[in-house]
Symmetry: C2
Subunit: 770 residues, 2 copies
């Protein structure tokens, strides 16, 4: 090799490196405001990956009847900030949390929050002063002239408030404030000012998770000059027990009741006030221990730097080369997927389980905020690729512990902070565990997991499982989500069968493969729809496939979405429909229907409609990939482009539906890389089309799986050719092993006309029925 040649090579490498560096870092690419607009229900605040503290501004306005709108506490269109609270769901379709709300105040203190157009302790703000990035949020509270900055560790929120000169400095803590804050929600609360200036307390609420207790500890970087505690309960019960020592209750060191507020005063100082707030699901002492362990000093910048570093590491697991908007969308999507399931445990392993008792996690992190109906689809499979130890093994152990602690002996359904909410349908902890077992994730007892899965699938009182087991379907007679339940149960059952087969438990496999076919018991071959069926065996008439919501027999949808819900058996569906062309025609009919969205205005979570395809909600998410089962890849590719182009954008209104604890984002992330886990537990990722030029997944086993898209452009949106590690791919799917072994999936992109990659000679994805 000549020197000049080597020199050229080095120069080229440096150039390539420079090009890569010209792209923003993953953290810089994230825009936490994406999804904070109409339907996304995400929040812009500060958190570390999977943090128990997710610290964010709340803007909600009373009356709180429209709680759904403020499910994340914050809406981008609002103009006032109520304060900063420490717990939020990212993209939930239901609402709760908003615990331990602090508002910094300069000057006079108003004890009531007020509304957007009424005076109160809330303050006007302007998006121009807002700055958010992973682990950081900043804003100026205009009414107070206070610059507010937030960062966090796993269990501690760190605030930095810069007050204007020559104004009195206060922090208001409103223990009445909550997301979806109806009268009577606060069951009890306690607030205590300790001699060392530490504030501790707890609140117990009957919210989405009933009887939920959350403890906290607060410390300030400046000494308190005074404190004032108030119980503003509208109808307190006067009783000796509520007297506090002395005649000046405001000054008391402790108060309890249902309407508590604390106001803390500080001397005016040019130095910003730093506030540390630790939370604990179990006790005040544990909250203090969490603070001592994670944030010993009042160093906001150090905490922010550490949070940023955690995000940089987590987000860098996938290196993406794409245009700036796509990178912003994708890194923000990845950011959203890394917020849940969140830790719900003290530093010493104490946590509150579904029996509302305190337990200790031995050898794992107890995690919660389990939106399983959503996340088993793509969010959890993504975590299994990127964070298998912390987000799959920990989750598995957490769910198995929950099953043991559950009064019902079943796995979680929709659990947060350890408490069950019974939200949504199905037993989708089952496919999460099954998928983890299928992928050989270590760190939990597989046979114990299978036993827990079976216990959930056979617990007759839950969701009419008794009738399902007896009749082979859930009858609609007394269950208005019956048809959805049947098909979702059947999928979950298939994952049990697969698991039992893998673990050599044949009887269980046989039993549950049979149950996995129960979707057919709600499939009316006369018109090719999954339909509500009566206990007497008849399909309910009249039947309208566009009927959704109450009394429809379907969950947040209708027969147009649910008739395709057989991820375990799509070829079986094709046979029942009369062949691949029938499937394609029906899918096209769904996508191309003219639908007035106003028809579904009253049905929760129906948003992002393309015909009767509803991208804003999960039952539709696998549908564009079904053309692959019919041997028509280009149709999948066209639909994916249609969906990505119309349903996502890097802006506050960039999510057409609730992000649902990462599922909407995980769909986009997988899809953009060119494949999607249609049937978790099959260990297959069905191939779609890439939306990035290049992506490198750095897998936890040290290997890298690279996706490259040659000639990708807006017009070159179709796949002309696919190779895996240089060899033409003759399958419509990748296997999990192929992905984990590292390598390169290379797409050559072209126009629709030149989309040569077809299914004619390819193997179809998994289906029970071949």
């Amino acid at each position: 090799m000549r020197f000049s040649s080597l020199h050229t090579l080095v120069a080229c490498s440096l150039l390539l490196l420079a090009a890569a560096h010209a792209q923003q870092s993953p953290v810089a690419a994230v825009d936490p405001f994406i999804g904070t607009g109409p339907e996304g229900h995400t929040f812009p605040g500060a958190a570390v990956p999977f943090g128990m503290v997710q610290l964010s501004p709340d803007t909600q306005i009373r009356p709180f009847k429209q709680s759904y709108k403020w499910a994340a506490g914050y809406r981008y269109e609002d103009t006032t900030i109520l304060g900063f609270s420490h717990t939020h769901f990212s993209g939930a379709g239901h609402s709760d949390l908003g615990d331990v709300l602090l508002q910094p105040i300069s000057g006079d203190v108003n004890l009531e929050p007020g509304d957007a157009d009424h005076p109160g302790y809330r303050s006007k703000f302007n998006h121009a002063s807002e700055k958010a990035s992973p682990g950081y949020y900043g804003v100026t509270l205009e009414d107070y002239g206070i610059k507010a900055e937030l960062t966090a560790t796993t269990r501690v929120g760190v605030h930095r408030y810069s007050y204007p000169a020559n104004k009195s400095e206060h922090i208001l803590l409103d223990l009445r404030s909550s997301i979806y804050n109806y009268p009577g929600k606060v069951l009890w609360s306690r607030l205590r000012v300790r001699n060392d200036g530490t504030i501790t307390g707890m609140r117990e609420t009957r919210g989405w998770a009933p009887g939920r207790q959350l403890y906290f500890a607060i410390r300030f970087s400046q000494p308190l000059t005074a404190h004032h505690l108030y119980n503003r309960e509208s109808q307190p019960i006067l009783y000796n027990g509520f007297k506090t020592p002395g005649n000046t209750p405001e000054d008391t060191q402790s108060m309890e009741g249902r309407g508590l507020i604390g106001v803390f005063d500080f001397a005016s100082s040019p130095k910003p006030l730093v506030v540390k707030v630790a939370i604990s699901p179990t006790s005040e002492d544990e909250a203090i221990a969490n603070m001592d362990a994670e944030v010993p000093a009042f160093d906001f910048d150090a905490a922010r730097k550490a949070a940023t570093a955690q995000w940089e590491k987590a987000l860098s697991a996938v290196e993406i080369t794409a245009n700036a908007d796509t990178r912003k969308s994708l890194y923000t999507a990845l950011y959203h997927t890394l917020l849940s399931p969140s830790v719900s445990m003290d530093v010493d392993g104490s946590y509150r389980g579904p029996d509302n008792q305190v337990h200790k996690a031995n050898g794992f992190n107890f995690v919660s905020s389990l939106s399983l109906w959503d996340t088993y689809r793509a969010e959890q499979p993504l975590m299994t690729l990127l964070q298998p130890a912390s987000r799959t093994a920990d989750l598995a152990q957490s769910m198995l512990a929950s099953q043991k602690e559950s009064p019902f002996g079943i796995l979680p359904v929709w659990q947060f902070q350890g408490i069950e909410t019974w939200c949504m349908i199905g037993y989708h902890a089952v496919p999460v565990l099954a998928d983890a077992i299928a992928k050989d994730i270590p760190g939990f007892d597989k046979n114990a997991a299978l036993d827990a899965m079976i216990a959930s699938a056979k617990y007759a009182p839950y969701g009419n499982l008794g009738a399902y087991m007896k009749l082979g379907y859930v009858p609609v007679d007394n269950d208005q989500e019956a048809a959805s339940k049947t098909v979702e149960y059947a999928f979950d059952d298939w994952t049990i069968a697969k698991t039992a087969e893998k673990l050599g438990r044949k009887d269980i496999a046989t039993e549950f493969y049979k149950r996995a076919q129960y979707w057919r018991n709600n499939f009316n071959t006369k018109d090719g729809f999954v339909e509500p069926r009566l206990a007497n065996g008849n399909y309910r008439t009249p039947f309208d496939p566009t009927k959704a919501g109450a009394n429809s027999g379907f969950t947040e949808g209708n027969a147009w979405q649910y008739s395709w819900y057989q991820p375990q058996d799509e070829l079986g569906l094709i046979k029942l429909l009369g062949g691949p062309d029938k499937l394609v025609a029906k899918l096209d009919e769904m996508f191309d229907q003219k639908v007035d969205p106003a028809k579904y205005a009253d049905v929760e979570d129906i948003s992002g409609m393309i015909g009767q395809y509803i991208h804003g909600n999960e039952p539709s998410h696998h549908l564009p990939y079904l053309y692959m089962y019919a041997g028509q890849p280009w149709r999948t590719q066209a639909r994916l482009k249609q969906i990505v182009d119309s349903q996502y954008k890097p802006a506050p209104d960039g999510l057409v539906g609730n992000d649902d604890l990462g599922q909407m984002s995980a769909w986009l992330f997988f899809t953009s890389l060119g494949f999607y886990p249609v049937a978790p537990t099959s260990n297959e990722y069905v191939i779609g089309k890439p939306f990035v030029d290049h992506a490198a997944m750095h897998l936890p086993n040290g290997k890298t799986f690279t996706i490259t898209a040659e000639n990708l452009s807006d017009t070159n949106a179709f796949v002309q050719n696919v190779t895996l590690n240089g060899k033409p791919l003759d399958r419509s799917f990748l296997t999990h092993d192929e992905l984990m072994n590292g390598g390169e999936l290379h797409f050559v992109m072209s126009t629709k006309e030149k989309a040569a990659w077809s299914m004619k000679n390819h193997t179809a994805p998994y289906s029970m029925t071949k």
Copy 2:
């Protein structure tokens, strides 16, 4: 010695022994119904000494406005039983508890309690079927034909229900039921049926002790055939979180809310149903552990036998020879004194402190139900004689732990199950600790105790202590119990001074000896009364010494009772009054006044009046002994006889005032033995007169102190002569050391005319002012 002589001696001894044995055993002498009538507020149910479980029938009738009347849950005049609950105060003047109420039911189940004249699950009963003795209670529930029997260990109630043949058998658990059960009292509750048939749950109430959580575990000797859980909350908030799996909520295995009832069904069986109910202040798991440790089997008779044995041992500490009625009164009094302070801790030492957090007791038993305003007077000194390790050292350690855990850093005031109620005035944990230190009770850190005492005495926000420290008295301007507070604080302060002196902390002693004189700042020498005084230094006018209750400046009394409240300085009072004769005249004026009790019908706890002497409440309790300070023993003796004869009798209406966790009973017990601790911490017992022929106190140090009364009769009610260990007693008091050294206090009794024992040549009891 001749044989015949020896024989005669032996025969005589055997006769004497037989005579002693002819008396009932202490347990048999106890009548738990004493005090269950109008004012005593005692309960007839089953408990072991100092038991956390005090299991008793509740008879209370709705509406519960007259909660005071049913402070013990049961009133002798009632005719129906609501059920059997596991926690009760013995003789409290305020009301709460009544936790975990079970009612056995045969036949149809009514879910509402009903009232005396309305149908409901309560049942008629008749006193003829009732049987109660220490550790046992039995009754027949007439509406159900069920024989109900109760016994207990420290933490477990054991029930035995004998159902009639051929009727369905049920147990109803009403988690709504409570003593003083106003709307909104139940903050939250949980109820769970475990797979092994164990029922567990918790209830959190905002009662006298706010935010109090109590956990429980229940096991039945027969298998459940069915269970039914109900939430009968009148206005439940409907929310997803409240859905339970399945469509038959009654059958669910777990429920939570504010109106929970459980009904448990059993197969008809000739065998009685045994039910074990364990409670815990900390968790369901701890409740189960408490049950496993204390009552592993379903053996009611064994549990009852063990409870009886515990009582026999505790009551036998004092052997009493007296007429049957006196023995009944005295052993019942002793029984009542041995119910509190009760254990409030799990078998593993877990307890809930005044910060409502869970702590662990290392090396002591955490005890609670601290009615200190009452019990520091005589109840606690009696415990220090009979149960110094468990009831004084444990109490001291519990109170010191509470002080550390208190949000206010002060000792308990009126605490139960670890939670502070702020009931009554003063800081009377201080004299309890001081008295224990004065008596050299081992087992706690004396200097730490003194520090805690000082902290309580200097906590300015409590009860206008700030003003007291500044002005030398509590001004009545904004404190309607001001005069009572001043004199009680001054006494408590004296006990701090004594303690500091003993521990060699001179500065503290000087400071608090000064404060101990502050009673003089409320003593108006013009008319010889303790009077309400204004902040400007003037006594408030007009002054009426008979004015009690609201706005009087006095706590549950008036100047007639409170003007003598200087147990530390009665000679100082005599000087201010103008000599012993003035004291005697004024005492007689108090006792002999004609007073219409109707005048005080509205003032709580004014009952048992002899003139303006109010035996039914504690501030009067030392008054009959004050004649001793004036050198007139016969007058004390006459008043004691007047009080004992008129204020006590061995019958349900035998207590004229609330027993106040043993204080009324302890007064009777001490008084009947012939002496009384007028000024705890002085280590003196002022001599009165005996009401028993013979009493032997078997002290924990192995020694016995005997009291004998020669010639005692109704007419021979006066003391002619007193000897201690054979030597004439030239003092009006016994010392604690003399008592603890064992020996004999021998009284020769006579008629008033022959009452030769006078004070002329005797030393007076302790007084600061000589």
